[in-house]
Amino acid sequence: MADIIDLISSRRSVRRFTDDPVSDEVIDKLIEAARWAPSGENEQPWRLIVVRDPDTKAKIAEIAKLGTGGRVTAEYSLSDYWQRKFAGVKNPETRARLFKTMYTGQASEFAGNAPVVIVVIGELYDMFDTPYDLSCAIMSILLEAHSLGLGACWVHGPSVYPSIVKKMKELLKIPTGMGQYKLIATVSLGWPAESPKAREKKEFEDIVFWEEFGRKERP
């Protein structure tokens, strides 16, 4: 077995892609990676809708923009959350650009420019852990994509509103009953046109306790 910590730690969320097509062979590998993800009771609730049609991707992008932009416009105008979030960005122009990317919804709109969008949904009926199973499947896709040299980014934010999920389901002809399928996220991917720097990560000792909550020293 190979240690994959380098693969895991070098993965980035990539939102800009070249126009180069992603072959069926590559897409099949991504689906295969999802297929092998763990799931509660091995129920494998995941269903993946691979979207390459430009019109459909554009509509997905518009729906995602509504969700993210609608929320962040309000958050930006009503609180200092985004000011705090980007407090570490010292350059005012860069900060302003980042703010705008968020409150206009552009941050979630990149699906429209990705060669492939995988919409991750899961069965609900007779399942046990659908949201968590789907998250595992997404992680498998992201790691496989990275290992193949692809860039990818998953977007969950717009999927938090039932009204926006309904738009997505209607667009993709997914049954809309609340007990039928959960749409958890989209994964946009393609050959990367950017190399994002690593995001700041919490320190090892800040996230681990030993034997019980709050115990910082390793026994």
Partner: protein
């Protein structure tokens, strides 16, 4: 009757707690459908936001869900401020506030009254997006709540930010 209302509010408290525990900070958008059925059954009509609001408020007060609902608009028509007095759900808010203060509980994030009003704006006026952004204040002593919601008539309205904190 009061005991029945208390019972149903207690159910909502438990559901709010469970939802938050399960979903963390993005819980409040997930519950946007809670409460919408009351006004969906009332044939609310109107061609402007104000007409919809007035007709919603008539039904809400006539149905005894709240004693008074007033509103104002700001932020280029995006921001909708609702003030709700003596709402049937005040006991739920009070219980959540107590739990937050004393038991590491959950801050109130769900307002069925705002949800039902926003749903009518979305569906009847065909707005692009509505969102209960902030429950600003819950005064369980006076029975008054104030909320800040956003309503986007078109995609172009997304991103029209301002400083709405003191409005």
């Amino acid at each position: 009757m009061d005991e029945k209302i208390a019972y149903f509010n207690d159910l909502l408290v438990r559901l709010e707690e469970i939802f938050y525990h399960e979903l963390s900070g993005m819980t409040h958008p997930k519950v946007e459908y809670v409460g919408i059925d009351f006004l969906r059954s009332k044939n609310i009509e109107g061609t402007t936001v104000e007409e919809i609001l007035d007709n919603c408020i008539k039904e809400i007060t006539a149905g005894g869900l709240a004693e008074e609902v007033t509103y104002s608009r700001a932020g280029e028509g995006i921001l909708l401020i609702l003030k709700i007095k003596n709402c049937i759900h005040i006991p739920m808010e009070a219980k959540l506030q107590y739990g937050l203060k004393n038991e590491g509980g959950v801050a109130p994030y769900m307002c069925p009254i705002a949800n039902m009003i926003l749903d009518r704006i979305l569906e009847v006026l065909k707005f692009q997006m509505v969102y209960n952004a902030s429950i600003e204040n819950i005064d369980t002593e006076t029975g008054e709540c104030s909320l800040k919601c956003v309503i986007y008539e078109s995609v172009e309205k997304i991103g029209q930010v301002g400083d709405w904190r003191d409005l």
